[in-house]
């Protein structure tokens, strides 16, 4: 076979090899990325971020990782302690059922609000919703994965 033809063959195969070299390099990056995501404690189902808290307990900007049932209130036994004079001792609970978060008001004195609207006992939540208990405002965010 003539040299030019062999050179063309080689170049052709090299181009395909380059394409697959690129894919291989990308897949390595993707795998590393997925592994590091799997190593992180990934059991959280959602996050609650504090937007406003006049008493400083919890701190503004703090983020809480949520389990399937999370209670909020002034009581020290509440999962998330909200130290605010307008918050009841066991004010509300966040529960994750199936695919959706729900906010349950546990008979609080001043009520629980979702995006500024007072809820009637229980309400489904979307990620990004803002919750208000007394003077404390929080936002429900998706889990960090």
């Amino acid at each position: 076979m003539d040299g030019t033809v062999i050179a063309i063959w080689l170049l052709r195969l090299l181009f395909l090899a380059g394409l697959y070299l690129f894919l291989w390099a990308v897949v390595r990056v993707l795998l590393r990325d997925l592994r590091s995501a799997a190593r992180e404690p990934g059991a959280e189902l959602g996050r609650l971020v504090v937007l406003e808290s006049p008493s400083g307990e919890p701190d503004v900007g703090a983020g809480f990782s949520l389990d399937a049932v999370t209670t909020l209130g002034r009581d020290v036994n509440a999962t998330i302690l909200l130290d605010d004079e307008f918050v009841s001792s066991m004010h509300a609970a966040l529960t994750y059922r199936g695919r959706v978060w729900y906010l349950e008001d546990l008979g609080s004195t001043n009520g629980s609000f979702v995006n500024g609207v007072q809820i009637d006992v229980i309400a489904p939540l979307a990620f990004g919703d803002e919750l208000q208990f007394g003077n404390v405002r929080l936002r429900l965010e998706r889990a960090r994965r």
């Binding site: 195969l13 380059g18 998706r142 994965r145």
Partner: protein, 477 residues
């Protein structure tokens, strides 16, 4: 204390100069892209020298080395812009679309340059590619807040419907399809803009109503339908898709819009019943249109048996199948295929609708599997960005943006391969054409912007803002 969002997002929006952050993975991947494209260009030039049927503009060691240098330079310039922006954004998307664009550049340099006036096919495509890569970099570096997208979702939807109506009335018919809209000297394909607006609207609508869509349902026998008031927008979507088929005769855009809509509905609700219902509606609508509209019937008949009309309506599809067959496993090599016979394309619209067939011939099964792999990477990155997004709007938007690129690629690739009826849409980042490249650039740029977890916090809801105002008034009293 008046503005709650301020506590979490103290930084101002807009341009600001952060400390540059190195992106070593992106740089390494771009280096591989540059080497692969240089080899491809050399392969094309060497083949041309001995085949000698198609004298290119520059019979050097590279096929049009200047264009290659410009393109690779644009990729590294985009990399530099992203480094200087100092954001922690995705490092895989830019090299991946860079590879797709480079393959497109090689293909367009290889086809007869007279397919586009002025600069010629390859150079015109180069200009659009560079602008598209520029859009990716600028949007990925600058866009930090998504408030401008989520707060005006109904305005974006209205704009989309308005563009659609304008196209219905004033669009030109090209090959029997009303796809092109000209305003003065500028002409473009409106469906490329509409698909982005659709995803923005769906992300806004679905994220807002997600709990209701999951929670409540209307039972109809064994099927669980969404609650009735929320069914209306879905029926509207279905009607819009059908009207695009009827008025614009654009099967591809209709299929793309409807499939992406169903996928996003599934992403938002995880309800298979909605998807099944949507597919049934699609089949019923498709069957009725098949009976009523001749252009739909022609497409389906070609798909069922292209060889029956091999020199008439089925000509393109038959030629595409021959091209795939000639390519075999490894392909004929760039420049050695037969997309051009005596200066005429055997497949009309090869550069816009059938680039996948041309690549199948010259790069073979191995090559097109690699190209499909690149689209899968785009989808994987999008879904990954969606999974780590802070709230529902960003998650659905990221999923939708990547799916629109991926689904479009698979619809046209499957159409070229005669797996589904052929529909005339573009192969993202590979087909010739400005509208398609610009839209794809915007999509990837937005994905890059969304991949930054340190971007500005989502804006407050309108109800939350009202509540705050009421409370502040009460406090001041």
């Amino acid at each position: 204390m008046t503005d709650g969002a301020g506590a979490l997002a103290p930084r101002a929006t807009g341009l600001r100069f952060a400390r540059p952050r190195t992106r070593s993975r992106e740089f390494a991947l771009l280096a591989i892209v540059a080497v692969a494209l240089a080899v491809g260009s050399a392969s094309l030039a060497a083949t041309r020298r001995i085949v000698g049927t198609d004298p290119g503009p520059d019979p050097g060691f590279f096929a049009d080395g200047l264009a290659l240098a410009w393109y690779v330079g644009a990729l590294f310039a985009a990399h530099l812009v992203l480094v200087l922006s100092g954001r922690r954004t995705d490092q895989v998307l830019l090299p991946t679309v860079g590879m797709l664009g480079g393959i497109s550049l090689l293909l367009m340099e290889r086809l007869p340059q007279t397919l586009a006036g002025g600069l010629g096919l390859g150079r015109t495509q180069l200009v659009w590619l560079v602008i598209s890569i520029g859009l990716v970099a600028v949007i990925g570096a600058v866009v930090r807040s998504d408030a401008w997208l989520r707060l005006y979702k109904y305005s974006w939807a209205a704009l989309g419907v308005a563009i659609l109506l304008v196209t219905f009335v004033f669009g030109h018919d090209v090959n029997g399809q009303r796809l092109t809209l000209s305003i003065g000297p500028v002409s473009g394909q409106p469906s490329e803009v509409i698909k982005i607006l659709l995803v923005i609207f769906l992300a806004g609508y679905l994220s807002e109503n997600r709990p209701l869509l999951i929670e409540e349902s209307t039972r109809l026998g064994p099927l669980r339908l969404p609650p009735l008031p929320y069914l209306a927008p879905m029926i509207a979507m279905w009607a819009i898709a059908l009207s695009i088929v009827i008025v614009q005769k654009d099967l591809g855009a209709a299929l793309l819009f409807f499939v992406v809509f169903l996928l996003l509905l599934y992403v938002a609700t995880a309800r298979a019943s909605f998807v099944i219902l949507g597919l049934i509606a699609l089949l019923v609508g498709g069957t009725i249109l098949y009976q009523l509209l001749p252009h739909v019937r022609v497409r389906v008949d070609i798909w069922l048996d292209p060889f029956a009309t091999a020199s008439g309506n089925g000509y393109q599809v038959v030629q595409a199948l021959h091209a795939f067959a000639r390519g075999g496993l490894l392909g004929t090599g760039l420049g050695a295929g037969l997309p051009v016979v005596g200066g005429v394309l055997p497949i009309p619209a090869l550069h816009t609708d059938f680039p996948f067939a041309a690549l199948g011939e010259e790069l073979g099964l191995i090559g097109i599997l690699g190209i499909l792999g690149l689209y899968l990477v785009v989808i994987e990155r999008g879904l990954r960005i969606a999974a780590s997004a802070a709230d529902d709007f960003r998650a659905i938007l990221a999923a939708g943006l990547s799916l629109i690129v991926g689904v479009q690629a698979f619809i046209i690739a499957a159409g070229n391969l005669k797996l589904i009826p052929l529909t005339g849409i573009t192969l993202p980042f590979i087909s010739y054409g400005g509208s398609s490249l610009l839209a794809s650039g915007v999509v990837i740029g937005l994905l890059l912007a969304l991949s930054d977890r340190e971007a500005d916090a989502p804006p407050m809801t309108a109800a939350g803002r009202r509540w705050l105002r009421r409370r502040d008034r009460a406090a001041s009293r």
